[in-house]
């Protein structure tokens, strides 16, 4: 009798990815496979997290190596378009159009994602509700606080119910209550797709992520469950929480 091996679908398949800016190699032969769930990216400034996310978001073409997302090859124009319809991205610095309202801004990007016309407005309403901005739906973006703008950014990223959601520092500017709500949202999105979230806040990773990777200098130093990262920090005194201690321990070991 034949044995059929069933493997979980890998929505993100990166092999040997290298990226250079000028003469500086920012990513070195990085391998990464991620399936369904919430995947956290930790690391110090300059580790390459944003470069990795930009590559996955198809902003940067892979310098070397291969990247396949949701089964699509990111270097093929036709496949890239199909991929982008199922992609959601929140950049680290989100620019906005000051005279757009919250609704208009999210609707604009829903249209650019080529969502079916009939689905656009109900989807925008749902996205606004999920980030708790109902009262501000008709407000101009220039009147919003930094935290509210961040939530607008999250809303445009999720409006098309993406199968692959990439978030770069999504909780910057959010208050603790909003961060709790955001983590719940992450878990919801991760239940049916892949979420990759880059953050400096280890508590976000611990609360929402099923798996976490620690990057430094363009490579991955650690990959595993948050509990595994905590275990690496046992006995260490550097850090104010178990996750921070694990984070510091892994970095310290790599720098020896």
């Amino acid at each position: 009798m034949a044995v059929i091996e069933v493997t979980a679908a890998r929505n993100v398949e990166v092999q040997g990815l290298s990226q250079k800016f000028g003469r500086t190699e920012v990513l070195h032969g990085l391998d990464l496979e991620v399936g369904q769930g919430v995947f956290g990216l930790l690391g110090p400034n300059g580790a390459g997290k944003t470069t990795l996310l930009r590559t996955l978001a198809t902003i940067l073409r892979p310098g070397r190596g291969s990247v396949r997302l949701l089964g699509f090859d990111v270097t093929h124009a036709g496949e890239k378009r199909a991929l982008r319809r199922r992609l959601g991205y929140l950049p680290q610095s989100l620019g906005y159009y000051p005279n757009f309202t919250v609704f208009e801004f999210i609707e604009y990007f829903a249209l650019l994602k080529e969502m079916p016309s009939r689905e656009v407005r109900p989807a925008v309403v749902r996205a606004i509700e999920r980030v708790g901005l109902e009262e501000k739906a008709k407000s101009k973006l220039r009147t919003l606080s930094g935290g509210m703008l961040r939530r607008v950014g999250i809303a445009q990223a999720i409006v098309n119910e993406p199968d692959l959601l990439l978030l770069d520092e999504p909780t910057a500017g959010l208050d603790p209550e909003q961060r709790v709500g955001f983590r719940r949202l992450l878990r919801e999105m991760g239940a049916s797709g892949t979420v990759i979230v880059s953050t400096h806040l280890v508590e976000d990773v611990g609360a929402a992520c099923t798996e976490v990777a620690l990057m430094e200098r363009g490579g991955i130093l650690f990959r595993g469950a948050p509990d595994d990262l905590v275990a690496r920090g046992e006995g260490s005194e550097v850090g104010d929480s178990p996750l921070e201690r694990g984070y510091s321990s892994v970095l310290a070991a790599a720098r020896v």
Binding site: V26, T58, I59, L60, R84, F103, F109, P122, V125, Q156
Partner: protein, 255 residues
Amino acid sequence: MRNHPRDEAHVARCADCQARWGLAALDVDLDRVWSGVAAEAWASPVGRVERLAGRLLGSPGLARALVNTPSLVLSWILASALVLGIGVMVTRQTEQPWVALLAPALAGIAISYAYGPGVDPAWELSQTMAVSDRQVLLVRVFAVFGLNMVLGLVASLGAAQAVGITLGWLAPMAMVSALALAAATTAKSANVGVAIGLAGWAIAVLASGRGTEDAAAAVSRPALVPVYLAFALAGVGLTLWSMSGSRSTGGVTWR
């Protein structure tokens, strides 16, 4: 009916009570109803121009990107028309073809502010969209160039210019627009695009107008058309190269 309880649970399953109380069978997706109501309340109406553009382009997203072009807003168009109107008046008074000199410059400025990271605060996000930045570029540049061409033609006719001069600035306009666009996208700055476009035009006017009093006629000579088109093609090529994903974007501040 006298013995029917009057609680919600009963009414929800009793057709007689529903009929009595004037309630239709509640077979409505209330979430969908709410979404529709909220969308109506929160959304802005879609203008006629955008609806027409959506039908012509076959893409509501592209149409929305087109109507949000900074240099296609009404105030910009009126300002361009005003400048050309002044050019018409000066031309009629001085009999110097000022429209031929102004039209390419205005087009170059408008093109610089049509597209690119210099004018789009959400540029990074725009590069992840299914409607690609190249599609947006093509549509916006075509529309802005076309509008400026129409404005220039109307102004030329208003100034009672000779046909040769009326049409002679089209090739220079293409060159200035392409140079401005290339500079704006490469430098990620609309202001740089404007500066390069105007500088290029000034050089072309001064160089071809040497030894003659009629700079506008000199710069519109048919013999110069291949030169203008060559520069225009070079500008387009540079624009496409600077838009390719192989260029790094890290550490660059959008201006």
